[in-house]
C-alpha cells in the first residue's frame, strides 16, 4: 500500500464535487450561528463528533470490506434529512466517477452498478480507499477531515473570513480528528464481527433541520 494515496484522496482538489457543498455552513452563517473563526471552530467540532464520526465509521467499515449495500442502508437510517440524503448520494456519485478513473477496481464498478444514482458518499469513500490500497483508519481520517474542511473552506467564501484563520481552525481540530478517526477505525472493526448496527449514529439536530431550510432557499451559493 502507498500512504501517499491518502494525500491524493484527501486533497481538496480531488475532483469529486465537494467544492459546491458547505456542510451546513451556509445555513449557519445566514442564521448568524457562524460569525467568525471562533464559532466556525465550534461548528466544525460539533459536526466532526456527530455526522463526522458517523461518516468516518461508515467509510472505515467500507474500507474493511463490509457489504456496501448494508452500509448504505445504515447511512440512510442515520440521515433523516432528505436534503442531506440527496446531497450524500450526489457526492457519492461524483466521488465514484473520480475514484473509478483514478483507481480502477472491480469493487468500485460493482458499487456503481448497484447504485447508478449514487451511494452515500462515505460508503463510496471507503470502497475508494480500499481500491487505493488504503486502510480503515486512513479512510476514516479522510472522511473526518472532509467533515470539517468543507465548512471551513465555504466559510472563507461566505464571510470573507481570513483564510489563515480558517486554516488555524482546522489545525486546532487535529487532536479531535485523531480521536474521531481512531474511534471510527475501532467501531468499524467491531462491525466486522457484530454487524453494522454497532456503528455510531450520533446526530446533530441543527444540521438536520437547517439542511431542510437551506434546500428550500430560492437563492444560495452552495448545494448543501
Amino acid at each position: 500500500m502507498s500512504r501517499a494515496a491518502l494525500l491524493v484522496l484527501a486533497d481538496g482538489r480531488f475532483p469529486a464535487g465537494g467544492h459546491a457543498h458547505s456542510g451546513g455552513a451556509e445555513a449557519a452563517v445566514k442564521a448568524g450561528r457562524i460569525t467568525g473563526a471562533k464559532s466556525l471552530e465550534e461548528f466544525c467540532r460539533g459536526r466532526l463528533h456527530t455526522t463526522g464520526l458517523v461518516s468516518a465509521s461508515l467509510a472505515a467499515a467500507a474500507a474493511l470490506g463490509l457489504d456496501p449495500v448494508a452500509l448504505d442502508e445504515a447511512a440512510d437510517a442515520r440521515t433523516p434529512s432528505v436534503a442531506l440524503r440527496v446531497a450524500a448520494r450526489k457526492l457519492g456519485r461524483q466521488l465514484m466517477r473520480a475514484a473509478r478513473a483514478t483507481w480502477p477496481s472491480a469493487e468500485l464498478d460493482a458499487l456503481a452498478r448497484e447504485f447508478p444514482k449514487g451511494a452515500h458518499q462515505p460508503v463510496v469513500l471507503g470502497v475508494a480507499a480500499r481500491a487505493a490500497g488504503l486502510g480503515a483508519v486512513d479512510a476514516a481520517y479522510c472522511s473526518a477531515y472532509e467533515s470539517v474542511g468543507g465548512p471551513a473552506t465555504a466559510t472563507v467564501r461566505l464571510l470573507s473570513l481570513d483564510p489563515f484563520e480558517a486554516t488555524g481552525v482546522l489545525a486546532r481540530l487535529a487532536p479531535d480528528l485523531d480521536r474521531v478517526a481512531d474511534r471510527a477505525g475501532e467501531v468499524a472493526r467491531c462491525a466486522v464481527e457484530e454487524g453494522v448496527d454497532v456503528l455510531p449514529a450520533v446526530s446533530a439536530p441543527l444540521l438536520e433541520i437547517s439542511a431542510e431550510a437551506h434546500a428550500a432557499w430560492p437563492v444560495r451559493l452552495f448545494a448543501s
Binding site: 478513473a101 469493487e107 430560492p218 451559493l221
Partner: protein
C-alpha cells in the same frame, strides 16, 4: 463482489464520445465569459434558432443557484425538463474546469432522461477572463465578451479569448455609445487567435445569433460525420 472480477463497468467516466450503450453521445459546447457579456441571452437565442431542427438541452452553472436556468425557463426557450442547473459553490470556474464531476453528471442525466440529444449547451456562470472549460467536459467552447466591457479585452488575451474555439464579441449595437472601437477589437482578436474564428453580433439586430448558430451547425456536422 470479487477482486478478480473483470473491469467491465459503465464506461462514461469522463469525456468518452460514446454512451454506456455504445451510441454516440450528444455534442457538448461550453459557453463562458465575463459577467453580463450576454452568455445566457446567446444560449436563449441559440435554442430558439436550433430547437426545430435538432434535439438539444442546456446545463447552467450559476453563481447563485438557478438564476440563469430560471431565466431560460421564463423565456420558455426549451421545455423545462431540458434545462438543468448545476450548483457551483460560488465558483463556476471550478465546476467547469477543475472539478467537472457535477457537470458530467448533469449532461449524462439529461441524455438518459430526455435523450437522444444532438447537442448540449453548457453555460458557465459569469466569471473572469481566465475561466475555460475542461476538455473532459465539452467538445468545443465559445467565449462571449461584449463591447461594453472595454475594447481592450481582446488585446489583453487570456485563455478564454486566446484559445476558445469561437470568440463572440456581443452587443455591437452599443459600440458607439461606450466608445468601443470594433475595428481595433477585430485586429487584436486576430493577433491573439490567428485562424480561430471571431463573430461580432448584436442580438437586438436583424440576424442576431445567425453566425453563431451557423458555427454550431458546422460543429455538429463534424461531430456526427
Amino acid at each position: 463482489m470479487h477482486l478478480d472480477h473483470t473491469h467491465d463497468g459503465p464506461s462514461a467516466i469522463s469525456a468518452d464520445a460514446h454512451r454506456p450503450d455504445g451510441t454516440r453521445r450528444a455534442l457538448r459546447i461550453g459557453l463562458g465569459g465575463p459577467v453580463g457579456s450576454g452568455k445566457t441571452a446567446t444560449v436563449a437565442a441559440l435554442c430558439r434558432a436550433l430547437r426545430d431542427e435538432i434535439s438539444l438541452a442546456v446545463v447552467t452553472n450559476d453563481i447563485y443557484t438557478r438564476e440563469d436556468a430560471d431565466f431560460l425557463l421564463r423565456e420558455a426557450v426549451l421545455p423545462p425538463e431540458r434545462i438543468t442547473a448545476v450548483e457551483t459553490g460560488a465558483c463556476p470556474h471550478t465546476a467547469i474546469r477543475d472539478d467537472i464531476s457535477a457537470n458530467l453528471e448533469a449532461v449524462e442525466d439529461l441524455e438518459d432522461e430526455v435523450g437522444p440529444l444532438d447537442l448540449i449547451l453548457v453555460e458557465s456562470g459569469g466569471d473572469n477572463l481566465t475561466a475555460t472549460f475542461s476538455k473532459g467536459l465539452v467538445d468545443a467552447q465559445i467565449f462571449v465578451i461584449d463591447v461594453a466591457g472595454g475594447d481592450d479585452i481582446p488585446r489583453k488575451g487570456g485563455p478564454g479569448v486566446t484559445t476558445a474555439d469561437l470568440l463572440v464579441v456581443n452587443k455591437t449595437d452599443l459600440a458607439p455609445f461606450v466608445g468601443s472601437d470594433l475595428g481595433r477589437m477585430a485586429t487584436d482578436a486576430k493577433a491573439q487567435r490567428a485562424e480561430l474564428p471571431v463573430v461580432f453580433q448584436s442580438l437586438r439586430a436583424e440576424g442576431g445569433v445567425t453566425d453563431v448558430a451557423a458555427w454550431v451547425r458546422g460543429q455538429l456536422a463534424a461531430w456526427t460525420a
